[in-house]
Every structure is written in C-alpha cells, then in structure tokens.
Symmetry: C2
C-alpha cells in the first residue's frame, strides 16, 4: 500500500465530517496540504501534542486497536485538563510497514473514541519508521477560562478523579510475564473531558496524571508556588492493588503513571460542587489532601507518618 | 537531563512571545498541558502535521542544526502551499538520549527559521525513542481563500518556483559517498511563504513539491480532475545537475523529492502577475507546461518526444 492510499484509508474509516456537519467547522479536511478549520467566534484555540513510541509508551505487544484508542485518549486528556472542548485532531503515524490489517484495527480503536468524544480527524501523515504515533489535539475554550497548573492557593482541597495506580500495576505485571484480566487499565484510559469542562470556573488549578500523582502534583504546586499535604489513606486505589501490601500499593498510587485521571484543586467554598459532579458525571472524586503555604509535598500515612516513595515519578530520559 | 528540563530548555531558547507580544496571540505557551491561542477575528485556522524520521527523511549524519531547520521548513511549506500566514508550531521530539549539545544545535536551526518566519513555538513534547521530529504548524487565512490542489482548469499555466532536482541529487551523492558543497539543497529548504500568500486570489491550484514534481503534480491534477503537459525544456534545473546527461537531469527534476518549491496553476489572464512576483519576491518562477482536459500527465522533451521517467515518485511505503 502506498502512502496516499494509507491516508485515504484512514480518511475513509474516520469520522471526518467535512461539509456534512457545519458544527464540526471543518472547511477542508484530509487530502490537501493542510486542513482549514472554522473556530466558533469569540473562542480561543487550545492545542496540545503528544507522541507515543512503541516500547516506551506502550508495550510492544499492545493490540493496534488499543494503540488507536490510547494515543487519542492521552491527547484528549491534555485538553480535558485545560477544561477545553475537543474539536479536531491531526494524526502522524510512523509504521515499519504498511500493514492494512494493523491499520484497520488501529482505526477501529481511534474512531470509536473519536466518535464518542465528538472530534474529527482533519489531518494525516504516514511515514516509514519505527512504530510511533503522534497526535495534535485542537479544542476551544472561552477566553481566559482555561484551567492551568498555576492558581492553587493554600487551603484549597486537592482532588483526584477515578482510581490510581492501576495502569502502572498492569504494566509491571506484563513486564514480569504475569497474566492479568485488567489490561484495559493500561491500554484504555478514559479522558475526563466532561469533568474538565465542569471544573471551569470552579477549580483553581488542574493537571492530568500522566507521569504519576506525585510527579504531576509537583508540576502543579511548582507552577502555583505552593506546597501540599497528601493523606495517603484517602487515595482511591485501583482494585487491582487490593492484594498488595500497603507500602507497595501506596507506591503505585503515588508514582504510577498512565492513569490519565484529573488532579485538581478546589477552593473550599466550592466543596459542595463535588456531590453534584459525582452524580451528574457518574465519576469518583476523592479529596486526597490540601494545598499548603510551603513549597514541599508531604505524604502522610494513615497513622500520620511521613511516607517517602521510592520512585521519583516517571521520566522518559535518564541523566547523561 | 530530565524531560521537564528538556522542555524548559527548548522554551528558553525559542521565541515564544507569550504575554510580550499580543500580536503573536499566545495566551498560554509551553509549560502547561496545552497552549491557548487567540486567532484574529474572522480568520480560519490552517493546520498541518508532518513527521521526519532519521534515515527516512534525512540522512543519519544530518547535523542537528539542519534537522531543526528542515523539520520546520517542511511544515511551513505545507502552510505556504495553502497561502496561509504561519503563526504557531507544536514540536514533538523523540530522542534516543537527552543530549544537550544536540538540542542546542537543533534549537539554533529551528529558532533561526522560526524567527525569520515570525512563528512561535507554543507546545512541546519530548520522548525517548529513535530520532524523530514531528511538527504541527498552525496558521490563518481569510475564509474561503485557501489555495487547494483542486481548482486547476484546462489551459491554466503550470508554474514552479525556484529550481528542481537539487535535493535528490545531493541525497544520491551522499548515499554514494561523494563529496558535495551543495548539501544545503537537501538540508535547508526554504518554505515559500510569501509566494504562497501572493498567489491567493490568483492561482487556481497549488501544492508544494515534497515527493517530486510528477508525484505532486499527479495529486494536483487528480484533485482538479484534469491532465497536464509538461515541457521538459522549460524545467528550472538546479545548478548541481549541470554536469549530468539530459536524461539523468530530467529524471531528477521530474521525480526528485524534498525541493519544497511551490507548484501552482495560473489562469492565463493573470500571467502578467508573474513578473511582479518575480521582482517583488526575488524568486524564480518558470512556466513549465499547461493543464489539459485529459486525465494524464504527459512530459515532452525539447524535441517533442514523450519522456517517461523511471521512478514513479517517492513513496514512503512499498506495497505489501
């Protein structure tokens, strides 16, 4: 299969609504040198890019249908953490060979999530190379309303959606050759798009958890110029951690990457919103600590002792 | 060096003008989960993405300063071919190791062109993996004014900017281990941004030459539903082809990729604009043929014989 056929195949399989649905704002989709997009008047553009490499961001045996899901989920999670409404994505795919079965499966996973999240694929690029998927996600937001890492204030509640540590535990099991029925925790993260949008106007800061709770909380408090206390006993452990010792479970919850839950801070006066969001969005929201005036993050175990996890969060590069 | 330090380093070295220059429209730049961008009212967004992989899109010995230039040039060339005004770019960089010297050099090349073209780097992502550079370029255009591959009509002049075949010849020499002083033809393409903008309202169709003249002309005539005659004697050969036999030189000009010149069609009534553009933009513009009513592309040699080049244009993938 040739490059142009590949791009066409993706185009045919995906939900580009050029010309068909004026709400999608796609004035020119895949097939030319660039896409032309019409933003609703008065909104700002929100743009994020992420690359997933085989063996780095997903195990080599990951099913293409899951790679298709995850690459999109990871990017939409970035828009979710800003409170943006996702609209369009551009996909750049490096493949060792043009394997139409692989592509069919990838496209199925990609498409299913794209349709669910109402985003249109508007640009495509396929190249020869080691398996690598890059996505740029584009969304919109009211001017000045984006959630940022900065903005948290001492006293604010620290809240996390969903469960923690599941993806990292699954990855560990896979690498150890253990069986697991919970592979979806690693392969099928759910971008918290509706939650992100609900938080606009309420949360003082927000980030998505890609590198691990402590690593991403570190970015948030650094950007906000504050510190944090985390109550380990309040962390929402993924069920797959139930058979582990406490220390090991805490470790996964505090430092495991790839959960793609939202971590946000909320001024106490908005605490009542939590019940509303839980009910309306059918989502778990746990208060796991408070922002402090210092510049350190302290994790307190259920018996009020400081806990220092061993792994300082996920890093793509080692020092050189 | 850690990932976050890498991103910061790129940020410090690049020309993000967040907050400093309201014209850049960057409401939130690198450092959060996504960038927030303010489009001038009434304009459409133009978006394009491209990945360059080592050993596929550039030789393994390419200097990082040239990789920095070329990855941006290639993407801006896509916006140029639409007639768009480039504004912002997002960069996703996969590196085997976090080498700060490599990054310094890459950034120098990237930055120099970004400043020249007045674009701001607004998003960054660095990952571990085989050397690969993805860029998403974002620009703006008046609604409905984009140049497209479709729109060429029988009788329209076919015009190409600059010189052809130089990049492919240099690549051949490198692969054969020959010395050349013209490596810039391969490593330092110039995106024809001002030309693209000048063509808006005049050219009937436009594409940039990345895969080779005939391959890209093929896309243009297919999208336009027409054919073409090319006068090989009118092709603007790169000087580096001067010492080759005619047939070999034609081959490079017709099928060599990576020149990133603009190929466009112009209704005859606008022919007088060519002189104006040549003078104002200090650019070579050669009339190399005409659009025809058929659906084939015919190349005529100076003695009016049909020439069929051997290589059907560059393809990233072979059939499988």
């Amino acid at each position: 299969m040739k490059e142009f056929q590949l791009i066409r195949k993706i185009q045919q399989e995906t939900s580009v609504r050029e010309g068909k649905d004026s709400d999608a704002g796609v004035r020119l989709g895949i097939g030319d040198d660039a896409a032309v997009l019409d933003l609703p008047p008065g909104l700002h553009l929100v743009a994020s890019t992420d690359t997933l490499n085989v063996g780095v961001h997903f195990p080599t045996d990951t099913a293409p249908v899951d790679i298709g899901h995850k690459c999109l989920a990871v990017n939409l999670s970035d828009l979710a953490s800003m409170g943006a409404v996702p609209r369009w994505v551009l996909l750049s795919l490096s493949l060792p060979t043009a394997d139409s079965q692989w592509l069919q499966s990838f496209t199925t996973g990609f498409n299913s999530l794209a349709n669910r999240c109402n985003v249109s694929l508007v640009g495509g690029d396929t190249t020869s190379g080691p398996l690598s998927v890059n996505l740029t996600a584009l969304g919109v937001i009211e001017p000045g309303m984006q959630l940022m890492r900065s903005g948290a204030e001492p006293g604010d509640l620290i809240i996390v959606s969903g469960r923690l540590g599941g993806a990292a535990r699954v990855l560990q099991m896979i690498l150890a050759g253990e069986e697991t029925s919970q592979r979806h925790l690693l392969d099928r993260p759910i971008p918290r798009i509706k939650l992100g949008q609900a938080l606009v106007g309420f949360a003082s800061a927000c980030i998505d958890i890609s590198d691990g709770l402590l690593a991403d909380l570190g970015h948030l408090v650094e950007a906000s110029g504050c510190g944090a206390h985390i109550d380990i006993g309040e962390l929402p452990a993924a069920e797959i951690l139930d058979d582990l010792e406490d220390l090991s479970s805490w470790q996964f919850q505090l430092t495991g990457g790839d959960d793609y839950e939202l971590l946000f801070t909320l001024p106490c006066r908005h605490e009542a919103m939590l019940g509303k969001w839980r009910a309306e969005l059918n989502i778990e929201l746990a208060i796991i600590g408070r922002i402090t005036g210092g510049n350190t993050v302290v994790c307190l175990s259920p018996d009020e002792e400081e806990f220092h996890p061993e792994i300082p969060g996920f890093e793509h590069f080692r020092s050189n």
